[in-house]
Amino acid sequence: MNNAPEIAVSVRELEKRFGDFTAVNKVTFDVRQGEIFGFLGPNGAGKSTTIRMLCGIYAPTSGSGTVGGFDIIREQNLIKEHIGYMSQKFSLYDDLTVEENIDFYSGIYKIPAQERQARKEEVIRLANLEDFRHRPTKIISGGWKQRLALGCALIHHPQMLFLDEPTSGVDPITRANFWAIIKDLAGKGVTIFVTTHYMDEAENCNRMVLIYHGTIIAMGTPEEMKTKFMKSDVVEIVLAEAQNWIDDLGRLDVIKEAALFGSNIHAVVYEAEKAIPAITAYLSGRGAEVGEIRKIMPSLEDVFVSAIENYDKAHEKS
């Protein structure tokens, strides 16, 4: 019965140019069914342009791809029936009430009359807007709007959900809440394609790519990202009165960069094996109360900064 492909999204050499400017530079990647796929990168890297090409809002300049097995150039209308899309900007109607917005999208997605009421309640429950159903959308606050938009994008029970910066400008609690909903959906088998520039959110993804200047510069699971794409090691130094030592440590040859992390110090080093003895010797020679010095797993943020720096260096030379 279920003959849907294993691969939900497949993209080959996809390119989008606006005049002389290349927004997306021949990207190639696959998204598996039911996974949360993160599309990460700083502002202006080409995230929104890519997601818009996948959702049939922009036509690609060159390259090819499929979404849910449908061709992104020739079968845009079929794709649109099977996906939910939530754009970066809040894009429901401000002057309509919560219920009217939901009704509108029910109509657009041709929800059968007998199911409409149930779907509407589902969206209202999801967005937690029971008390606001007859209020104009413009008076409800950012986080609620975001969830209402998500609800409207889900009204036709799509198998794939495309979210463009869904959590930008939203408070941390609402963000956590939002990710809980997304994980829940993924658990039900919905493929999630999400763009973000919040690197901490990337930990929620099963797999991800990092896009920079329109080019994919890293791709993999969070673990792969941390091991494959990090050219430096991160060392955690536990010692008393760390704040007094941070400047001195930063000047050591073996350390690239040192920063306070809670009451400890995280130092980015060229090679942990050589750096740890050097740091230990330096600190104990000056009578510091050293607790522990060990190599740790870098955070995704460390990985992204490092990957972007490597890209910039490589392009300075050429």
């Binding site: 649109k80 996906i83 754009s87 894009s91 002057d95 309509l96 041709k110």
Partner: protein, 377 residues
């Protein structure tokens, strides 16, 4: 094409219009306002020309007799009598009068001597059209007076005047030559053009501006569904305005309606369809509301006002401008409206105008959808 989607869009649009006081005022207030302004304010009839008189020969019964012809004419309104040129100059400069009649001292003397008596006429020529008409009024009064003099002279010599040619006008369609009857149908055409093109021009541009269009494009909604959905509520408003316009014409301005209401509805629907599609087309091209409303007034309001024959007769225009008027749809609609209001004409006499309106509607509608499809991807 799917009816459910069209219905959802039309319904949404209705709610938005209802909640937006600006577009509501524009769609329902403007028609009444324009009809009142144009119906009462714009009169092309020139009468009661403000006149100032200096009778230098006031002691003569002849001149007083002559002046009575002006005093009791509805075309002149004597605002003052004076006895110097400074006063005339002042009153014409300040606009209190536009015409001055100066009867010279020896006016009656000349007449009695059987010589031609000069009458000085000073006209404010800054409004050339009105000045010409006023001068013609004076000429016809003078002509009538001359005929009187002539017959009196002949009678005094015992000769009965012979019959002469006498024009007996019989005016069709607008017996009283009331210009309101001529203007009001034109105003109705203008209202429909403004309301349709101007208001709809905002309805797509607004969605681009607010970012709601991006969300819509990511749904399976198709261009014709969106265009038709947006079309429906504005069509209803346009039709409502038409009814208000016809009722006001009939009962406020007393313009007769001699044609067929079904023909009116049919022709108006064609015109509305074209005008609405033009508005949607502009809206798709413009993307911002400001740009859209400017484009709409430039391409609809101004041609409708100036090039449709609404006020300025097309046959008076230079040939090149006349050629342009063929592309102004209101031109055809106004002819049809005047036909229906005043002449009781049926489709038989206006099938060519109807054909042009039909072409306009079909072309604009197709353009709007085509353009929209292109824009979307």
């Amino acid at each position: 094409m799917n009816l459910k989607r069209i219905r959802a869009i039309a319904w949404k649009e209705f709610i938005q219009i209802k909640r937006d006081p600006r577009s509501l005022a524009l769609s329902l207030g403007i028609p009444v306002f324009l009809l009142l302004i144009f119906g009462f304010g714009l009169s092309l009839d020139i009468d009661r020309v403000r006149t100032i008189v200096w009778n230098q020969d006031a002691s003569s019964k002849v001149t007083r007799d002559f002046l009575l012809n002006f005093k009791y004419s509805k075309y002149f309104h004597v605002v003052a009598y004076t006895d110097n040129y400074d006063d005339i100059q002042h009153r014409i400069d300040s606009g209190q009068a536009m015409l001055a009649l100066v009867i010279p001292k020896d006016f009656s003397h000349f007449l009695e001597a059987g010589k031609a008596a000069p009458l000085q006429l000073i006209v404010d020529g800054s409004d050339a059209n009105t000045a010409t008409i006023a001068m013609n009024y004076v000429r016809s009064v003078v002509y009538g007076y001359n005929v009187q003099l002539l017959s009196r002279m002949l009678l005094s010599r015992g000769i009965a005047p012979r019959a002469q040619v006498e024009a007996r006008p019989r005016i069709w369609y607008n017996m009283g030559l009331t210009s309101t009857w001529f203007i009001v149908p034109g105003v109705i055409a203008m209202i429909i053009m403004i309301v349709s093109a101007l208001v709809t021009s905002l309805c797509v541009a607004r969605e681009w501006e607010r970012g709601t269009m991006e969300q819509l494009i990511a749904t399976p909604v198709k261009a014709p569904e969106l265009v038709i959905g947006k079309f429906i509520p504005y069509f209803c408003i346009g039709f409502f305005d038409l009814i208000v316009g016809v009722l006001m014409a009939r009962f406020l301005f007393g313009v007769p309606f001699r044609g067929n209401y079904l023909t009116l509805a049919l022709m108006s629907s064609l015109f509305l369809t074209g005008a609405l599609s033009q508005g949607i087309y502009i809206s798709v091209v413009a993307r911002t509301q400001l740009m859209a409303s400017q484009l709409a007034s430039l391409t609809t309001l101004i041609p409708t006002l100036l090039l449709s024959g609404f006020i300025y007769p097309i046959f008076n225009m230079p040939k090149a401008v006349q050629a342009i008027t063929y592309f102004v749809p209101a031109r055809y609609y106004i002819i049809i409206l005047r036909e229906l209001f005043l002449k009781a004409g049926g489709l038989a006499v206006m099938w060519d105008e109807a054909l042009f309106l039909f072409l306009f509607a079909v072309l604009m509608f197709t353009f709007a959808i085509r353009r929209f499809k292109k824009k979307v991807v």
